[in-house]
Amino acid sequence: MEKQLTLVNKIEQIPQLAEFVEQICEELGLDVAMNFNLNLVLEEAVTNVIMYAFPQGEEHTFTLKAWTEGNKLVFELRDQGKPFNPIESAPEVDTTLSADEREIGGLGIFLIQKIMDEVSYQYEGQSNILTMVKVI
């Protein structure tokens, strides 16, 4: 299995991810819970790119690829925005705090790391490359 989606840095593009994940899950026979989790992870990663990778008002495209390697489902998100390592930059999330103390933010990369089995970042050839792997 190998699929690719080209996206523009507009928040209206987000619903396309649901369709992309749906096709993958159908092809690989993955259940509803996995579909939900993969959709969630991709939305968090793609939202970060849309919101922060490029200067405001400029239109850019970036790509999301998915493929399988044995029992692993691999997603690779590649953008040519400003260099940004979401893993290093993620604020610590303390899930034990009360509602008063909880900050509104920082949950995206936290969810990605909790749900996926491997998450890695590299900057190569002027591209941010975020690789997210789920054992299926």
Binding site: I14, L107, L111, K114
Partner: protein, 100 residues
């Protein structure tokens, strides 16, 4: 993504329907304003038809919870689908609300 808000005997109920993804958040923020304004009351969110939520949606739930703490109300979430509930659990948001 829609929310239908009704009030009966001092309880304000919001029935959520659809996908609360990042693209839906701006509109939903407007649509849930009546709840924020009535955060001194008992608020019930019926999530039976909430089919998806991401962190931007969770933030709106947290904003509402913070508002009720400030104004003396509370938030109860009911009929949460298991996949949505799991997002509340992973993020520790589960303990911030009452669930039914």
């Amino acid at each position: 993504m829609t929310i239908q808000i009704t009030e009966e005997n001092g309880t304000v109920t919001g029935v959520l329907n659809g996908r609360l993804d990042t693209a839906a958040v701006a509109q939903f923020t407007q649509d849930m304003k009546p709840l924020m304004e009535q955060a001194d009351k008992h608020i019930v969110l019926d999530c039976e038809k909430l089919s998806f939520i991401s962190s931007s949606g969770l933030r709106l739930f947290l904003s509402l919870r913070k508002e009720t703490i400030a104004k003396g109300g509370d938030v109860t979430i009911m009929n949460v689908p298991p996949e949505v509930k799991q997002v509340f659990t992973i993020t520790g948001f589960y303990s911030l609300f009452q669930f039914q």
